[in-house]
Each structure stands twice: as C-alpha cells, then as structure tokens.
C-alpha cells in the first residue's frame, strides 16, 4: 500500500487522525495533515482505507 496526500486540499479536519492515528497526524499550527508513514504495515490497511474514505476534502489517495 502506498498513500499519497494532496496537502493543498487538506482542510485540517483531522478525521484521518481519528481513523488511523499511527499513520496520520496534524501540524500544530494550521492542522494540515502530517503523513507519519507513507508505506504502512498491513495491520494498518483497514484504518488507512477508512481515513481516505472519511476525509472530507478527498485529500488522501490509497494505491494498493
């Protein structure tokens, strides 16, 4: 699995962090997403798919 994030689209919702806290975080100042792990282990795949699905800015794309 490879994750790509369009940082410009991100609106700082943090929904991705709620879904996959080991893979995403947010910057302190503006809330923009921080990708902690662009190539996460298999036990994270479901969380990452959930994060991409709920991101309200459609900023996360998952390639499998």
């Amino acid at each position: 699995m490879k994750i790509s994030v369009d940082f410009d689209k991100c609106c700082g919702a943090g929904q991705c962090v709620l879904a996959a806290p080991d893979v995403f975080d947010q910057r302190d100042d503006d809330g923009i997403v921080v990708l902690l792990d662009a190539d996460p282990p298999a036990d994270q795949y479901d969380n990452v798919r959930q994060a991409a699905a709920v991101c309200p800015a459609a900023a996360i794309e998952v390639h499998e």
């Binding site: 689209k9 609106c11 700082g12 919702a13 943090g14 929904q15 962090v17 709620l18 879904a19 806290p21 975080d25 947010q26 910057r27 302190d28 503006d30 809330g31 798919r49 699905a53 709920v54 991101c55 309200p56 800015a57 459609a58 794309e61």
Partner: protein, 438 residues
Amino acid sequence: MTAAAPSRIAVVGASAAGLSVAEGLRRDGYTGRVTLIGDEPHLPYDRPPLSKQLLSGAWDTDRLRLRSAEALEALDLELRLGAAAVALDTGAREVALADGSRVGYDALVVATGVAARRLPGTEGIAGVHVLRTLEDAVGLREQLRPGLRLVIVGAGFVGAEAAAVARELGAEVTMVTDAAVPLADALGPDLGAMLSQVHAEHGVRIMPGVLVDAILAAGGRATGVRLADGRTVEADAVLVGIGAHPNTGWLAASGVPVGNGVECDATLYAGSGVWAAGDVASWLHPRTGRRLRIEHRANAAEQGLAVARNILAGPEHATPFDPVPYVWSDQYDLKIQIYGQLRGCDQVRIVEGSLAERRLTALYGRDGRVRGTVGINMARATRRYRPLVAEQAAWPIAADPDPALSDGPALSDGPAPSDGPAPSGVALSGVALSGRNA
C-alpha cells in the same frame, strides 16, 4: 424474515454521499451490481471548494474530482451520469430515469442531496446567483471583478465564504441577513460577533437583522434588492445564500416517507428496500430520538459508509447511525472547525486562546452536557476536545481535557452519557447564548 442478500444496488445521486455508499459496498466485499445514477453530467466532484478555491480562481475544475479515474474504475460501477431519476416504484423495485429507461434494484439508496433555495420570482433574471453546483460557481466567478457591487443575501456558510472570496477579488460586498451576525446559527452570538468584525475589517458592509424581500430588476437584469423594512440596496449582481431544500420531488408518488428530507429510522432505513444518505437524509438520532438532517460534507461520507454496511447487514441487523457531526469553514485567514451540535446551546466557554487573538477553542453546552466544540485557527488542539463531545461529558467540564484523551481512537460509537456527578470543574464564565431568532 431475513431478506435475501441484495445482488443489485442502485444509488441515486452521484456526489459525496452516493460515491461513499459505492466505495463502502466494495470495501465491505460486495461484488454484485452497483448502479450510480446522477443527474449532473460530471464525474463526482466535491462542493466545498466551490465557495473557496474554485470561486477564487486558485483551482480549476479538474481539482474538484472526488476520485481519480483509476479509483473510480476500480469500483466497477455502472455509471449513469446526466440521467435524472424521475420516479420510484418500490413495488416493482425500479427507478425510472428521465430518458425513459428503468433501473431495477434489490436495495436503493437516496443520495440526491439538496438544492439551493431561491427568492421567489427570481428565475430567469440575469445577475442573480445561487451557489450549489459547478456551473453556479463558474458563473459567479466570471462576474467577480474589482468594483463589482455584489449583494449577498444570507450570512450562512455560503454567504460568509463567498463574501471573503469576493472581497479578495476586489468586489464591493454588502451582506444582508435576517440574523444578527454571520453564522449565527452555527456559532452563536459571541463567535459570530468576532466573525462580523473580521468581515467588516475586510470591507464587507453587513446589514444584519433584516430579511431581503425581493430582487429589483430592470430589463431582465438585477439592479439591487429590496429589504423587508423598505430600504433598497443597489447591486450589479446578487448572490442568494438562504439555505437549501432536499431533492425529494422525484419520490412524491413512491410512498417513501418524505418530510424535511427522506425520513429514515435510526439506521438510515426508510422501509421497502430504500435507504438514504447525505444532505437528503433525515434520521432518528439514536440518543435524542429526534429527527436530524445534516448538510455537511463529513456527514455525507460517514452516512454513505454506514448505509453500505447496513444494507449488507440487512434491515434486521442494521446498526444506528450515531456520529459526532463535523464541519469546517474557511474565511480569509480564519479556519473554523466545529464538532457536535451547537444549535440550541446556551453555554459557551473558551478553553484555549481568546477572541482577541482570533485563535481559540470553545466548548458549547446545553442541559448540563457538552454538545460541541469550535476551533478558530486551532484545528489540532480542538480535536482533543472531541471526545468530550462524543461522550457528552457533564457540564461544567474540568479546566483541561484529560491528557489521555488526545489522539484517542474514534469515539463515534461512544457510550451514552453517564449520569455520574460532574467532575469538579472550574466555575464557568458562562456566556449565555441567546437562541437564534428563528
């Protein structure tokens, strides 16, 4: 009575909620047919940028695509775009489309969203705009130029965001609203007053507390607006942002329960094999037992996934939809985040930052419970208070959130509020929130 597993699922409405249903079905392993029907000719696109990056010209329309071509391809959908659903026969389990064709289904999802409310008598008058679709946004963008006199009717999300963009592009903006402050509904008077000030500093003239009565026109073109108190305001263009109504007309003869939206039970099921998701869905909130309909982007995605899960589980095993609502808004350099349900809250307390800094987190309470939290330019910090909203923690709350709450897992299925005693909280500098003037 367990119905056979569906093998044909039709989704009407090919936008955020409809696409989310389709994705959810595939993610949950459904391999049957999925027909996604949408009346717009475009591949699914996202609306929030319509009043932000698209309106300002920062993005072109390609950036609005909700999913890449490959991602859509992988979903293996039968896409029926540019095809409006005009009727539903729940007996025969068929949707009739405007081109005369019919689509059969075992389960149907209504995800037809809402349409912008218009002022009566404005159809066909040039220079009157609403902002709901790509065409609406492109049409308004073409008009925005330095010196254009733009009157915005309504100071809700559309009005406030469009005002910010129009000012950045040099238009002269007058905002008329029956409320006292922008986003009064969503934020209440204190944060709303701060927002008023920000708009005023950016040169927006706000006329609060008065309804717009009619659009004035000459030669088929808008020349201004008339207010309920008789005053008039001249304009070269008018943007009407006075709310929206659910797209349910096509269900009129179907027997599907329709009120303010498609009326579902707590699991988003409306009976007879019909489900609903997104802006159009009114459901019985499992904790309050009251009907709720939410017009926000994250809700569309979450309800879409919930409906997919519940369709595959079947109505008997479907689970209630119990979210922590979330919405954001960008205006000038303000990034506003809202969790929970602020409407009706009569207590507000700023727990971090301040109005003066225009950087803050506020908690909102009602009936002795935390109901929501708002962040202004404090996205990450504000998210730490979300669990208090999910739990509906007792109000007044302790001064700081439990550090262990930070970055915890999603609590959308969190426990019902306990009746335990309130934590020994600090005294509230409780600013009373007057109810909206509705």
